[in-house]
Symmetry: C2
Subunit: 276 residues, 2 copies
């Protein structure tokens, strides 16, 4: 069962018009919200980011905090609280009368579904993952979590073809983020991640990693990272709702330390925060 | 009546799954093909560009040239040959089992519709239009005619808010194109348009304008245009299937000549080519 425009329907009956601007123009925004043991993680932050993105794209916010929560809870009741879930929520500008760029006063389309969340466990994470460095060809508003995601889809394909977990992106030799993650480097015990800007998504997990460093008393900075600094780093991590804090064993042919005591400390603190 | 995945159905029954990657990821490409007095314009060029874009995005091309033509003709039979039409064709990567960036071996979704084409007539065009210069924030594969179009939608809104026809875009003070058009300047009798690159869409109308210059014996170049050259130009035109060759009377507060003998010569030649 999924939620579509005010109704709970079976996924196979969840259909939208071909004139939906989400289909024609990628004209929408989305959120991915983890649910750990039945508890929605950082709900306030996700709904605030959603509201911000709707504002950036001039789409009215169709529901209140209370209404979103009620919908989420109804969907989550389908699952056992023993397994982790993830809420996917997408809002598009709505259905126009014909296919034209311009629009006015449409009713947004709201689609929400829940799925089992497969989190990589600690032992798996500790083995480290592979990545590749690629040029960031995306648009210059990556701070907006929009459904115009063709660039990200093509990066996923590149990663698959190369047999790696993720692409790490740079613009003019300044690291931005991963294809669907934020990036951290560790050099001489200092954790650094690129500052928030129009070029990166302000990941909720990114914020939690910084908070975990804070709590664990580890020096951390939000500063530009050059590709040279990346290559010289002791450790590189990527973060996202599903990857949590994932250490990279190598980017292309350059190796990094994984499962270090520093990573372990941040990872443990993060796990504690998750369960608060 | 529209075409959706092998069937001709009423638009109100044309519905796709919310798991269509066109809806979730803007993961598709499209074409807009004018039909003048019942004759499809530059069909070969449009189908070739479609094939190229499907190749760039690694989506299999579901139909042959003959099959596309048969579908177009069935849809066009609904209309009187006295009015101009436009074919809108969209192909997405298809419907996945769940919402995930990765994909394999999906059946593409094909949606095709026809609408009346409202071309601006010569007298209206001659009055000239207004535009605004804006920074180009789009991705770095604008050569791909993809449905991940949120940036273009936001530019349309900017133009509407400012009460102008189009945005003219620049990257680092080099003109790329309009929000949904190509750009030409005329200086001392020479027509210049930016060269084909990953930053612009290779418009079919753009090619026809260059061909019209060729036939009319007007000097024309495909060269970078700086914002300074734009401001100093005698004339600025934008081209697209629906705008044909549209002279701009002003960009922000800078005025340009409109309906000049040179524009008239290219416009007349273009009209002749259209009817070949």
């Amino acid at each position: 069962m999924v939620f579509l425009n005010g109704e709970f329907v079976e996924q196979k009956h969840a259909k939208i018009s071909t004139l939906d601007r989400g289909f024609l123009f990628g004209d929408g925004v989305y959120e991915v919200i983890p649910v750990y043991h039945g508890t929605i993680f950082a709900l306030e932050n996700h709904l605030q980011r959603l509201a911000d993105n709707l504002g950036h794209t001039h789409i009215p916010n169709p529901y209140t905090h209370t209404e979103y929560t009620a919908i989420f809870n109804t969907l989550l009741e389908q699952h056992s609280a023993n397994e982790h879930q993830v809420i996917y929520l997408q809002i598009t500008r709505g259905v126009g009368e014909k296919r034209q760029h311009s629009f006015q006063n449409l009713t947004p389309t709201v689609y929400i579904r829940t799925d089992t969340l497969h989190i990589k466990n600690e032992d798996t994470l500790k083995q480290g993952y592979q990545a590749t460095l690629q040029k960031d060809i995306r648009w210059h508003h990556c701070n907006i979590k929009s459904t115009s995601l063709l660039a990200s889809v093509l990066y996923t394909r590149t990663a698959q073809e190369m047999g790696v977990e993720e692409v790490i992106l740079h613009r003019n030799n300044i690291i931005t983020e991963g294809g669907s993650s934020n990036v951290f480097i560790v050099s001489n015990g200092v954790v650094t991640t690129p500052p928030k800007s129009n070029d990166i998504l302000a990941g909720i997990t990114r914020d939690m990693v910084l908070k975990s460093c804070e709590i664990a008393g580890i020096v951390h900075k939000e500063e530009n990272i050059t590709t040279q600094e990346l290559w010289n780093a002791d450790e590189v991590w990527i973060s996202s709702s599903t990857r949590e804090i994932m250490p990279l064993a190598c980017i292309d042919t350059t190796s990094f330390d994984v499962a270090t005591p520093l990573w372990q400390q941040v990872y443990n603190t993060f796990q504690t925060l998750k369960n608060v």
